[in-house]
């Protein structure tokens, strides 16, 4: 075990902030620049869902609800009230946190499959509401003219700047997720996932932790939604159909339940795979169904299992109490 080993987190940050932009600049294609951003957002969504589905063990399809809430909040505020990008993100986070806390509190006591179906019902209801509440959301036409991302007066322009904004956001989000998953808090969540009754008998506050994770998942997803609204400058109900939730869920499954590296891989795969097979026609949904089915059947632990991920980060974080193996001499 080499002392000179670069920690995974640092390596990943370097790849994201240096290697990828360099490659994109060399390729010189704005299309690829956009694609990279889509991949980055997918990573955040998959990671956030993984907190809920993987670490906490609550199968859920509500990604689009909070993604949409964040996006529409940002859109409506910025177009009607002229608020700045950062304000909108903050509002999106607060809104989705509050809604998430309420929904989480109401739903976490349901057993696994009913929780999943309840989130599905939420997602479909959200989409129907967005589609039909034209006065607020401009309905099927979608929200146009959302101002671009801007910081302290400077508007982001060009794919490179846009990429960096997204990349920094992703790194922040992943940092938050990393602290939750690779810690004693993550431990507690995993124990509750494995056997809730037993975890309760050990004194763990099962309901509280589950609601907290649900809220965190909602908040991160909401922030991603706000970012998406501003970087795309247009959002419509079609972006928030239940299929998108299912796509993110598949990313979690393919990557590996409970594994943060797995979620990253899953997010990348779920965006790049349909792109790579574009010539085959609009088979996105069909492909997704097949991938989901095959993953569950043959790779139930995903491409990068939780066990491997936890072991990896334990090695990577030798000074953390969570990773400590021996009592001090």
């Amino acid at each position: 075990m080499s002392r000179n080993r670069v920690p995974v987190r640092l390596a990943f940050a370097l790849v994201l902030l240096a290697l990828v932009p360099a490659l994109l600049a060399w390729a010189g294609s704005p299309y690829l620049g956009r694609l990279a951003q889509v991949v980055l957002v997918a990573i955040v969504l998959t990671g956030a869902l993984n907190l809920l589905v993987g670490t906490a063990g609550l199968l859920a399809l509500d990604t689009v609800v909070f993604y949409g809430l964040g996006a529409y909040a940002a859109a409506i505020l910025s177009v009607n009230a002229g608020t700045s990008f950062l304000t909108n993100v903050a509002v999106a986070v607060v809104l989705t946190s509050v809604v998430g806390a309420i929904c989480g509190f109401a739903l976490v006591r349901l057993t696994s499959i009913f929780f999943a179906v309840a989130t599905m019902a939420l997602a479909i209801s959200f989409h129907t509401t967005v589609l039909n509440w034209g006065d607020l959301t401009r309905g099927p036409m979608g929200y146009r003219g959302i101002p671009p991302v801007s910081f302290f007066g400077h508007s982001v322009s060009g794919w490179l700047e846009s990429y960096y904004v997204t990349a920094v956001f992703v790194l922040l989000a992943l940092f938050v997720m990393h602290r939750v998953v690779h810690s004693f808090y993550g431990n507690a969540a995993r124990a509750i996932r494995e056997d809730e009754e037993c975890a309760l008998s050990l004194g763990l506050r099962t309901r509280l932790i589950r609601v907290q994770i649900y809220t965190l998942h909602a908040a991160i997803t909401g922030a991603a939604g706000a970012l998406y609204a501003h970087s795309n400058q247009f959002i419509g109900p079609d972006n928030f159909v239940i299929f998108e939730s299912a796509l993110v869920l598949t990313g979690v499954i393919v990557g590996g339940f409970g594994s943060l590296p797995g979620a990253v891989i899953g997010g990348v795969v779920m965006v790049l795979l349909p792109e790579a097979l574009r010539e085959v026609g609009n088979l996105r949904a069909l492909l997704f169904g097949i991938v989901l089915f095959l993953s569950i059947l043959f790779l139930p632990r995903g491409l990068f299992s939780e066990v491997r991920a936890l072991a990896l980060f334990r090695r990577d974080m030798p000074k953390s109490p969570w990773a400590r193996r021996r009592p001090p001499p």
Partner: protein, 254 residues
């Protein structure tokens, strides 16, 4: 007179006409190692479940350290200082041995999302959790297995892991449900001495068991249940000679 740590008064649990536990009363004093025995179906595990809050009692009261815990949820009861193990061995097989035990430590010390998100804030608590977990592992000779998935351990080690995890809670009262089930003689002997050592260190233990020799050897006092009722209580020698107990187990008429 030793402090009465646990007081069970007239505890009853009925399941649709079946009186699984029927008007049972007893005390457990601090520092005692009490055995709870009885034929299969006598209601021992149900009694445990009632005391630990896993199921709701039908009537009666349970007092712990002078306050009533009947009707509290299992999480509250655990945080008040009662830890338990399960008859059918419930560990978390897919996570590591260390993580299993630290779950118990987290239960006692608590964990906060805020403290986790901000680097540095939860450090002290994390250290305490790690220390408690490692100490518990060391006590049961499981340190070398710390990073293995708990499912990989041998059955006897898993049993010990479950107890180690319960101990990470630093409980005042430990409820063990058939800790020797499935263990061979050597393992049972090890378990017996460990339990003795824990008792000597000040832990109060209430133990359901079928392994008579072990119970007779290590328990200070024995309570006997049959068909939901308490039929005898006393020192091991007295219980061994008790005719009612004999009848319950062997079907002899006194």
């Amino acid at each position: 007179m030793s402090e009465r740590l646990l007081q069970v008064r007239g505890l009853a649990k009925h399941f649709q006409g079946l009186r699984a536990v029927d008007d049972v009363s007893f005390d457990v004093a601090r520092g005692e190692l009490v055995g709870l025995i009885g034929p299969n179906g006598a209601g021992k595990t149900t009694l445990f479940n009632c005391v630990a809050g896993a199921i709701a009692r039908t009537s009666g009261d349970v007092e712990f350290q002078g306050r009533s815990i009947a009707g509290l949820d299992p999480g509250r009861i655990a945080r008040l200082g009662i830890a338990r193990t399960y008859q059918n061995l419930r560990i978390f097989p897919d996570i590591t041995v260390f993580d299993n035990v630290s779950a118990g430590a987290i239960g006692r010390l608590g964990i906060s999302l805020f403290g986790t998100l901000i680097p540095g804030v939860g450090r002290k608590r994390d250290e305490a959790i790690a220390d408690a977990a490692l100490a518990a592992l060391e006590r049961f000779d499981l340190l070398s297995f710390a990073d293995q998935p708990a499912g990989n351990l041998a059955y006897g080690q898993k049993k010990h892991l479950e107890i180690a995890r319960a101990l990470a809670l630093q409980p005042t009262l430990l409820l063990l449900d058939e800790p020797a089930a499935g263990l061979n003689d050597t393992e049972t002997g090890e378990l017996a001495s460990r339990l003795r050592a824990l008792r000597d260190a000040g832990l109060t233990i209430l133990l359901v068991e079928h392994d008579m020799p072990m119970v007779m050897r290590i328990c200070d006092r024995i309570i006997v249940l049959d068909s939901g009722r308490k039929i005898a209580e006393g020192a091991p020698a007295a219980i061994r000679a008790d005719t009612a107990v004999r009848a319950a187990y062997l079907g002899d008429e006194p």
